[in-house]
Subunit: 258 residues, 2 copies
């Protein structure tokens, strides 16, 4: 049994939430893997360095200078901070970019129709599962940031949700795997203004209906698309939940139809 | 046979020299390990961020902000750049701080007589050789920066020469090991103004004499002390040479007496 957990900026940016999360993650038994997003630190550092942050449709355009900032913040500061916190909790964590051990290859996104710069896309089978297996077998807990490479010495900034899905798919080739996306909400909410509107389970059929009636909207769609792709590719279960519920059952479980 | 190579700022800061070095390092057969210093990038980033760089007796005082800068630059930017360059040359590199896989523990330097801040010292037996062995056995080439941790969630800035010596000592417990320090000069020079004054071999006895007569002076002493400690702790040979001579015999070889 392998547990893959992804955390985003809302945890990475909040020292107390991060410390709580690290303790809860340390409590998970068996083999486990963490994927972290970047948070606002890269934007703050860019501001201090007078590097413009350009967003197109909510996505960061990654110039050479922005790539350097993201590499410093994600692969350096945030990754090593989390690794050292996990080590202090007795978890033998090892921080990785996709370039390390060539564990994730990406391809640079084509410059048309929109040139996002040094942004990479990874195939859902783009994670080397034999390398992943040997790290897990050595008793290590891989901690991935969202920086990877193209194999030709170019680093690329990738989407952490997609990396989490691809890592879970590779893990599922080793052992049964669950993927948990930590989220600002208790899970997928039918009505964001009502805390009692948590949808406990979503199948592909229900997902299509919830998209059609607008209950599931823009920001959630890429996340859920990734999640259902992971299920389609062998991941046993995907859960979307608040990090504070890591140890309990509250959350939205995505599962196949039937 | 394990080859451990340390490069410093003069290579890290020079893209052409780094590319040449990476190609030469890729050509080394067998198991190998790279340790890199930081170069001037951390100082330049500190300047752009208006973080004062404080040096006491040539050593950087590491405030919390300076530690963050060093972690970003050494463990993030420089480490991942080198890893991706090695991957492009067919070397299955994996970038590591000492916190990763808990491979190097350091202790924070006492605040008296001089408070250097978040600076760590490592014992020469402070590198986990069984973890190192399992990475090498997996066909990986570890690439270390000079950031490590204390095991209690504090990252520490360490001396890259000392890390290189400690890594070589750990490697020597696995297989016969040579340690090469890449240097701005062809090796240890009897007279820095004369390019034909390379000292080809130094034993502990000769080292004592060269220190006594001032031939080997201040900056070289910690480097050579580290090197002779490594030899005393099982490393077969330490070589000090220019990176451009990595593939040939030009350099200074340190070896035991007799």
């Amino acid at each position: 049994m392998i547990t893959v957990v992804k955390i985003g900026g809302n945890i990475v940016d909040n020292p107390e939430a991060l410390a709580r999360f690290v303790r809860a993650f340390a409590g998970i038994g068996g083999k486990k893997i963490l994927i972290h997003g970047g948070g606002k630190e890269a934007t703050r550092l860019s501001e201090r360095l007078d590097i413009p942050t350009v967003m197109i449709e909510g996505r960061r355009v990654t110039s050479r200078e922005t790539l350097d900032v993201c590499t410093m913040v994600y692969a350096g500061l945030v990754n090593k901070r989390i690794v050292s916190m996990l080590q202090a909790e007795g978890v033998n964590a090892i921080g990785l970019s996709g370039a390390d051990a060539d564990i994730i290859r990406a391809t640079r996104r084509p410059a048309k129709p929109v040139d996002y710069g040094f942004v990479g896309d990874i195939a859902l089978d783009g994670v080397n599962s034999s390398t992943l297996a040997s790290l897990l077998d050595a008793g290590l807990t891989p901690v991935f940031c969202a920086i990877t490479h193209d194999g030709s010495a170019t680093l690329l900034n990738c989407n952490a949700d997609t990396i989490a899905a691809a890592v879970a798919i590779a893990a599922a080739r080793i052992e049964p795997t669950t993927l948990t996306y930590c989220f600002e909400q208790p899970g997928v909410m039918a009505d964001i203004t009502r805390s009692d509107s948590l949808i406990k389970e979503i199948t592909p059929t229900l997902y299509a209906a919830l998209k059609a009636d607008g209950t599931i909207n823009k920001g959630m769609i890429p996340k859920l698309d990734n999640a259902f792709r992971a299920i389609g590719a062998g991941v046993e279960k995907v859960v979307i939940k608040h990090a504070d519920n890591l140890a309990n059952e509250t959350g939205t479980t995505l599962s196949p139809d039937e």
